[in-house]
Each structure stands twice: as structure tokens, then as C-alpha cells.
């Protein structure tokens, strides 16, 4: 995994997301989720290309159930965009890079 993407856990989530000065996009994923694997390389690219606009974190829902439940994640991949600790956009399901970036950019 790229060094650009922060691994989040139930224990670190609030601290990292709350303290983030840039918007942070959190990828709720799991090892057994095929569509999650498909968007992983796209997120790696975005983490590099868009690093001046937002950062990216990932949270494995398999071992971090509390955070996934808190944000009512019922389908993965789900991408939540946080600005000042608040959810400002919710992207459910794998999408092509262009469509993904468009939805994120519209909410930055």
C-alpha cells in the first residue's frame, strides 16, 4: 500500500480525522470485497495526484466494526469525505476514477 494512504482503526479514527487540516476521504473496505480491490489502485493514484486538495485514509471494516457502524456503512466500498470532522459526501459502490473524482471535487 502506498505511503500516502493512512491506515485508520477504531482507536485512531477520531483523532486522525478530527485533526486533519485538509479534507480526508475514508475508504471503508475489507479483504473479501472484490469491488474494493478494484478501486484500491484508483485511490492510490488519487492520493498522489490530489495530495494538495485532500488526503485519503482506509478503514478495514472487518476489524473496525464500531466505526463502520457509527457511520451506518452497510455496503462496501463506501467512501466518506470528511471536512472539519463532518461527513460532507458519501460515495457507495465502486465507480470509475473520473466519476469518483467528480463527486469528491464537488464537495471539497
Amino acid at each position: 500500500m502506498s505511503e500516502q494512504i493512512t491506515t485508520l482503526t477504531d482507536a485512531t479514527f477520531d483523532e486522525v480525522v478530527g485533526a486533519s487540516d485538509k479534507p480526508i476521504l475514508v475508504d471503508f473496505w475489507a479483504e473479501w470485497c472484490g469491488p474494493c480491490k478494484m478501486i484500491a489502485p484508483i485511490l492510490e493514484e488519487l492520493a498522489v495526484e490530489q495530495s494538495d486538495k485532500f488526503t485519503i485514509g482506509k478503514l478495514d471494516v472487518d476489524v473496525n466494526v464500531a466505526t463502520a457502524t457509527k457511520f451506518s456503512v452497510m455496503s462496501i466500498p463506501t467512501l466518506l469525505l470528511f471536512k472539519d470532522g463532518e461527513v460532507v459526501a458519501r460515495l457507495v459502490g465502486a465507480k470509475p476514477k473520473g466519476a469518483m473524482l467528480q463527486e469528491i471535487s464537488a464537495n471539497l
Binding site: A30, P35, I39, I42, V73, M74, S75, G93, A94, P96
Partner: protein
């Protein structure tokens, strides 16, 4: 200038990738437009990307997962030089010679092709009842392997009576307290082995002769409104999750109005993979409403590659 290829393969399920392996080995340098990331069957790798164990694909005595099988086929196609691209054909013109294809974000056609192998597969059918669209991803799902995890300890339903429905129901028993199979008829369409497994599973219940009329819930699924198809009686099933597995429809949008379809909407193929359009071949679930297996789909991809190769030879290409 568009890029020209002798063989353009659209789709990357077993049919598309087998066609790619064969035409790459025949030195035809095929371009494969695989599709784009999605959480539906409309994604690179196709329907098998959303399945778990594939137990009936010959050569894998201990079973293999759908995504692994597709990764293997992809690697095999790459090994022989197939040019695989994560992209989507948005428009296909089969009136012109060569054929022309527009990919995502193209204003001009970016690929021209002497032959096209259409292997766009099929997608899950939805129920088209109130509440369904609104609650999709909020307790309603078409992918048990993606979303089953979120229903631990809950009572959920699977709608459908075929093999896909049984597979989803069985998979979901890993998480759910109970799985109710909701089926319009009083008998299953599923294969004998899948029926037996489902019927023997203690967590699986059956709601026979039951037609879903509405998915209930404001922000999350809270139940299913249903009607008894025999007595006409209305009832509510208390479930917090609904998985839809009621069948498939072929992905024919690209060739709509350009190629002959069967009455049920599948692409009509005559002998082998030939369609009524010269140089356009169809393989896999887009033209097969009868068998719809990974192995028959792969077999038809092979047929299409050989048909395309011989057609090109006969044309002097």
C-alpha cells in the same frame, strides 16, 4: 486517428477472456475493453466477481473463488499478449466498415476494428417495486459477498428461487440469524444440489408463493411487504436486509437496433457465434439464456475467437 485492431473484444468475463486467450495465441493482437469499476456485475471480470466458491469449473477439484478464477483467466490472456484495458465502450457502430467504438470520454471513435466479439454478459434484474431504489445499499443489496457481513445476527431475506438465490442464501447464513428465501412459486428453479443444501440448512426458511410488493423502511430496510400469490393475502416479513437474486437480463444496449435479438432480448446467434451482422460475433451470457455457466461461457468465447479468426482469413485480412 483512431487505433485499428483486427479483433475488438468487449467484456472480460469468461467469454471475453477466453476469446482473448484464443485470439492472442492466434497472433491477432486483440484489444479487450474490460469494463469499468462498479459494484454490480457490470465490472471487469463480470458476474463471477460477485460470487464465492466456484465448484463446477473443470480443473479445480477443490473449488476456486470467482474473483481468483477471473484473475487467472486475465493473467493467461496477458501472457499471450492480449491488450486489456479498464475502460468501457460507450457507443459501437456496426454499420461502418471497419466497426467503430467510442470509449468513455471519447468525442471521436478511438478504436476501429475488423471484427468485434461482443461478450458484455448479463446483469442482475431488480424487482421494480416501491422502496427498492431508495433502499439500495441501505439494507437492500444485489451482492451477498459484498454486503453480507453487515447483517450479522440479523433476520434477512433473499428474493429468488434459482441457483444464484440459493448460493446467496447459503453464503448469508454465515452472518445472519435467519435467511428467508422469498419465492413467487411453490418450487425452486435451482439445481438439485443447491436445493438440497438450502433445504437442509437450519438457518434457511422458505416463504413460498410469495411476491414482494414493497421494500419497507425510511433510512434502512425494516421489512418486506408481500402478497401470497395463491390466496392474495398481504403480509409483512420482518427483515432488516434484503438480497435480490431474481435473474438476469443481457447487456445489449451497445448493439440495440443494430443486431437481431431473440424475443427475450438476448443476442441471436446462429451457427457458432455468428450474429446477423457480418464480422460481429457474440459469446457468453449476452447470447445465452439457457446454460449461463462459467464453463459454457468460456466455451462460447473460444468458439467466437475461432469464428472471428476464420472470418478474417476468409476476408483476406
Amino acid at each position: 486517428m483512431p487505433e485499428h485492431t483486427r479483433v475488438l473484444i468487449i467484456g472480460s468475463g469468461p467469454a471475453g477472456l477466453t476469446a482473448a486467450i484464443y485470439s492472442a495465441r492466434a497472433q491477432l493482437n486483440p484489444i479487450v475493453i474490460e469494463g469499468e469499476p462498479s459494484s454490480t456485475t457490470d465490472q471487469p471480470g463480470g458476474q463471477l466477481m460477485l460470487t464465492t466458491d466456484v465448484e463446477n469449473y473443470p480443473g479445480f477439484p477443490e473449488a476456486i473463488t470467482g474473483p481468483e478464477l477471473m484473475a487467472n483467466m486475465r493473467a493467461q490472456a496477458l501472457r499471450f499478449g492480449a491488450d486489456l484495458r479498464i475502460n468501457k465502450v460507450q457507443v459501437l457502430d456496426t454499420d461502418s466498415r471497419p466497426f467503430r467504438a467510442w470509449l468513455s470520454d471519447d468525442d471521436e471513435p478511438s478504436i476501429t476494428a475488423d471484427t468485434v466479439i461482443l461478450a458484455t454478459g448479463a446483469r442482475s434484474m431488480m424487482m421494480n417495486v416501491p422502496g427498492e431504489e431508495r433502499l439500495l445499499s441501505h439494507g437492500l443489496s444485489t451482492c451477498a459477498t459484498c454486503d453480507g457481513f453487515f447483517f450479522r445476527g440479523q433476520d434477512i431475506a433473499v428474493v429468488g428461487g434459482g441457483d444464484s438465490a440459493m448460493e446467496e442464501a447459503l453464503f448469508l447464513t454465515r452472518f445472519a440469524s435467519s435467511v428467508t428465501v422469498v419465492h413467487r412459486r411453490d418450487a425452486l428453479r435451482a439445481s438439485k444440489i443447491m436445493q438440497e443444501r438450502a433445504l437442509a440448512n437450519e438457518k434457511i426458511r422458505f416463504a413460498w408463493n410469495t411476491k414482494v410488493t414493497e421494500v419497507l423502511g425510511d433510512e434502512k430496510v425494516t421489512g418486506l411487504a408481500a402478497q401470497d400469490t395463491v390466496t392474495g393475502e398481504d403480509r409483512v416479513l420482518d427483515v432488516t436486509g434484503v438480497f435480490v437474486a431474481i435473474g438476469h437480463i443481457p447487456n445489449t444496449t451497445l448493439v440495440m437496433g443494430q443486431v437481431d435479438l431473440e424475443e427475450n432480448g438476448y443476442v441471436r446467434t446462429g451457427l457458432g457465434s455468428f450474429t446477423n451482422v457480418d464480422g460481429l460475433f457474440a459469446a457468453g451470457d449476452v447470447q445465452d439464456h439457457v446454460y449461463r455457466q462459467a464453463v459454457t461461457s468460456a466455451g462460447s468465447g473460444c468458439i467466437a475467437a475461432i469464428d472471428a479468426e476464420r472470418w478474417l482469413e476468409a476476408q483476406g485480412h
